[in-house]
Amino acid sequence: MIHSMARHNTSKPPSDSWEAQLRKGSLEMAILASLWKSNHYGLEILHALDGRSSLALAEGTLYLILNRLKNDGFVESKWVDAGTGHPRKYYWLTEEGRERLRAMVRFWIQFSADLNVLLEPVIARKERVNAAR
């Protein structure tokens, strides 16, 4: 029975909670990054994130995160009449936001490089198993 439980556990996918935490931790960086090149309104930011399914988020709460980023001084916003019958609220990065994003990216690169070194044996083993099939 213990054996079957162990087998069951090893076949389980990674915890949803762990994945959610990882996504949440990266979301602020992803939203700031989506504004790096140009100003966008909410739906455009969602499209940029939704194209990468692991970064998809509940739509209503995007505006809460943008609101928070604005209060923290990382983004600014302005209502613009886009000629669609209803105005759009455009967001852009402030200088502080750009600096914050640069710092996040620097940390992210170092963090993922360190993690990749640790994961290398796991990835290499998986590749060997795939090659043997």
């Binding site: 909410g42 739906l43 509940a58 209503g60």
Partner: protein
């Protein structure tokens, strides 16, 4: 779906959101609802044909108005708390925190004890002139030191207030003791009580605020658990 029905459904959703945001300032509520309404209308514009199912899916993807409002209100409480010294505001933020983690529960209890001590100091300072023989800083048997009320009996002595009987610290009362009880401060109790009360309230507010600031990064993520799209929510692509 007739355009009027679509407009009515969007209006109803926005009204529910506006009502659910009732604790936020009016201008902030209007801004949030305006932005969410704009988002829904953008999504509808992108649809070649708006059916009831499409509309329902869009509204579901935006989120339940009550849950969405709760996230906004949670963030508002947190934001207010990081800039406030008001015990009421800080306790509300702590209570929200306590509902999400063990650390939050401990921080909330510490804050309640801090403000509780401050209240005892102020009450004692206020009541001392009225009950000079009952309110004081009492030295009782077993090295008990208590700032507060003494029941006036040498047998079955009970003290209420801030009590220290090494190694115990109690906000409330310790078990009854027998023996001599001595008052240490006399008329000085009122000014000392006011001073200690002010220090307790300011110190507790300062510590509570710095704890909220320090842990708010994590709490933001905790509050934003629903940021991660659940698998039940339709993706934008599925609606394109």
């Amino acid at each position: 779906m007739p355009p009027d029905d679509v407009t009515n459904a969007v209006d109803e959703y926005c009204n529910r959101l506006w009502k659910a945001l009732h604790k936020l300032p009016g201008s902030e509520r209007d801004e949030i609802v305006r932005e969410v309404r704009g988002h829904i209308l953008e999504r509808l514009d992108a649809e070649p044909k708006v059916t009831e199912q499409v509309l329902t899916e869009i509204l579901r993807a935006v989120g339940d108005p009550k849950e969405l409002a709760s996230e906004y209100k949670g963030y508002a409480v947190l934001r207010q708390a990081t800039h406030s010294r008001s015990p009421w505001v800080l306790l509300r933020a702590m209570l929200r925190w306590a509902a999400t983690s063990v650390v939050g529960v401990m921080a909330f209890l510490a804050t309640v004890i801090g403000y509780g001590c401050g209240t005892v100091f102020f009450l004692s300072a206020f009541l001392k002139p009225m009950f000079p023989s009952r309110i004081g800083l009492w030295l009782a048997p077993q090295h008990t030191l208590c700032f507060g009320y003494w029941n006036g009996q040498l047998s079955g002595t009970v003290l209420y207030g801030i009590s220290v009987r090494p190694p115990a610290f109690v906000l409330g009362t310790l078990g009854p003791t027998d023996g001599p009880v001595r008052e240490l401060l006399g008329a000085w109790l009122s000014p000392v009580g006011v001073l200690c009360g002010v220090l307790c309230f300011l110190g507790t507010s300062l510590v509570a605020r710095s704890l909220i600031k320090r842990f708010s990064q994590n709490e933001k993520w905790a509050a934003s658990f629903s940021y991660a799209k659940s698998s039940a929510s339709p993706s934008l692509q599925s609606l394109r």
